[in-house]
């Protein structure tokens, strides 16, 4: 019995020590006493140095939590029981959260640095007045190719993918909206079409791509492209940026005639306990210098215009990651479609996947 008590005491002591140590680790950067700001973001989607800088500047203690999908984040916030002050949903999720009355309207007056945002990245269909959201990062859907297997510059349009030379050599990302959208765009139809005929035509065109397809996969696509397993991959620019940094033979193309434009956005959930801190943080992140530091770390494209001055020459010149205004104007944001339409997209894509040969 005595020994048992000693063991219990030892465990409790160890717990206390661990608790103290973890407290010390998380608070070492701040003189505590400041208020807490809880940020809920994608995993590894911010430069940690910026959080430290923000804490030092404002005295807030930042608690940084992560999620791995829009849906997981939505469920957590919708369930309640959480008090995230700031989170970063993608475009269609902003609409969904707004409809679910989960968002607090933004008081834009409190974010003076919004003036640095490029006009092309504001007032998009998912939040026309930017009443609830401001863009954090943006990107496109495009084509990654390997210059050991494909001549440089020989891919320019979506239609190029249908050429015979890519037989059994294309990787597609497993996403109904994106792949149907690709097929629609190649036929100059809207990527948000609700026209049944256009959708069926798009599906028929995808079927023709069948012999060229090596696999339809999700996260593994990155790894396969890096390992030179396929000549061509269709994926998002953020993913592509990471592939490019791992394999210098890879290149990213934003195909003609147009493509999808997506956003991850700052929003303040209804459950926020410290909106003042959230405003301060958004404002801080939109400061061009900070935005540039963040973009350099994360590798996605920043909607803050002045970031340009701080980016390295090579990145600035790369039109596929930072397209010209003219190109951006053409890009199409996915609209939140009614559920039966989403179902239609999913069904057609599933049918295509099942019989893709």
């Amino acid at each position: 019995m005595k020994r048992l008590m000693i063991a219990v005491g030892a465990i409790l002591l160890a717990c206390l020590a661990l608790w103290g140590a973890s407290l010390k680790l998380t608070e070492s950067s701040v003189a505590s006493g400041g208020k807490r700001l809880i940020i809920y973001n994608w995993g590894d989607y911010i430069n940690p140095a910026l959080i430290k800088k923000f804490e030092k500047k404002t005295g807030y203690q930042v608690i940084y939590q992560t999620f791995d999908s829009n849906e997981a984040m939505y469920t957590k916030i919708n369930q309640g029981g959480t008090a995230y002050d700031l989170t970063i949903p993608s475009d269609y999720m902003v609409t969904k959260m707004r409809r679910g009355k989960l968002l607090r309207p933004l008081d834009l007056e409190r974010i003076p640095n919004r003036k640095y945002l490029g006009y092309d990245f504001l007032h998009k269909s998912f939040d026309v007045k930017n009443a609830y959201s401001l863009p954090y990062f943006w990107g496109t859907l495009g084509i990654v190719y390997n210059d050991r297997l494909v001549r440089r510059g020989s891919i320019k349009t979506w239609d190029d993918l249908w050429q015979r030379r890519f037989r059994h050599n294309i990787l597609l990302v497993d996403s109904a909206r994106d792949m149907m959208g690709m097929s629609l765009a190649s036929m100059h139809h809207s990527m948000n079409t609700t026209n049944a005929l256009q959708l069926h035509l798009a599906k028929a065109k995808l079927d023709q791509l069948g012999p060229n397809i090596k696999a339809i996969i999700s996260d593994e696509l990155k790894m396969y492209m890096i390992q030179n397993e396929a000549a061509v991959g269709v994926t998002w620019s953020g993913e592509a940026a990471e592939m490019l940094s791992n394999n210098r033979h890879l290149h990213y193309v934003l195909p003609k005639p147009y493509s999808n434009l997506w956003f991850d956005n700052f929003v303040i959930p209804k459950t926020a306990k410290n909106p003042a801190g959230a405003y301060a943080f958004i404002n801080f992140m939109l400061n061009p210098k900070n935005a540039a530091q963040n973009a350099a770390y994360v590798g996605y494209a920043s909607p803050v215009q002045a970031v340009w001055q701080y980016l390295p020459q090579a990145v600035r010149r790369d039109r596929s990651f930072y397209p010209t205004q003219k190109m951006v104007k053409k890009l199409m944001v996915f609209k939140d479609l009614p559920p039966q339409m989403v179902q239609k997209y999913n069904d057609l894509f599933l049918e295509f996947k099942m019989y893709a040969r």
């Binding site: 661990l18 973890s22 940690p48 940084y64 939590q65 369930q79 029981g81 959480t82």
Partner: protein
Amino acid sequence: MNKHTWLGKVYLWFVLILLYLPIGYLIFYSFSSGHNMNHFKQFTWLHYQTLFQDNRLLAIFLQTILLALLSGLIATAIGTAGAVMIDRLQQKRQQKVFLALNNVLMVSPDVIIGASFLIFFTALGIQLNFGSVLISHVAFSIPIVVLMVLPKLKELDHTLVDAASDLGASPHQIFSRILIPAMMPGIVVGFFMALTYSLDDFAVTFFVTGNGFTTLSVEIYSRARQGIDLEINALSTIIFLFVLVLVFIYYLLTTKRFKKNGKIGGIIK
């Protein structure tokens, strides 16, 4: 006969290698200077250095261990009490019902337990934080403790309890002098089992983590979007060593101490 033991040994080694090869592979690459696990470049401690500068990840690591220890401790206390209670039930039928209810929790999938906890906490308006995770970890660890402790009580000769009370021992004395020593091996095993359950749980934790608290498994899962870097390999290596030490301590405890005390004669001092 000899041939069979030889075959058995080969098979044993085959299984062991199969189980440890992936972990070895992971540890091996934690020392590579590259950014991925495709080619081993050069030996480096770099990933360990970045790991030890990553305060957030280290804090999460410590919190995960803290959670495991604390939930293990509480679950062991509750589970042991539960085992004593089940053992005391007069009717065999009642005992069976309680054991069956206990086992249902053992076999039901983590996802269901996690989802039900999430619904439960939000229905009661409990904030999702360290407390909610602790409660759920305690809850899913209790059944295993009960299962580990109960057989020791069954082995115990109950006439000992009767004899003790005949000789004037108080209930407290009976509990601390007879029941506890008899259950001790079960309690220790139960505690370690609860510890490992808590350490490697992902599904339940995923549902109930919230403000300001997360565990290692949930954090690593969230990072997977950007591709897992070798810092995680380094961390996994450290955890593997940590668990190895734990198992070693457990081995020492079970082989030395309880061999002596395990016999009935050793119980009453």
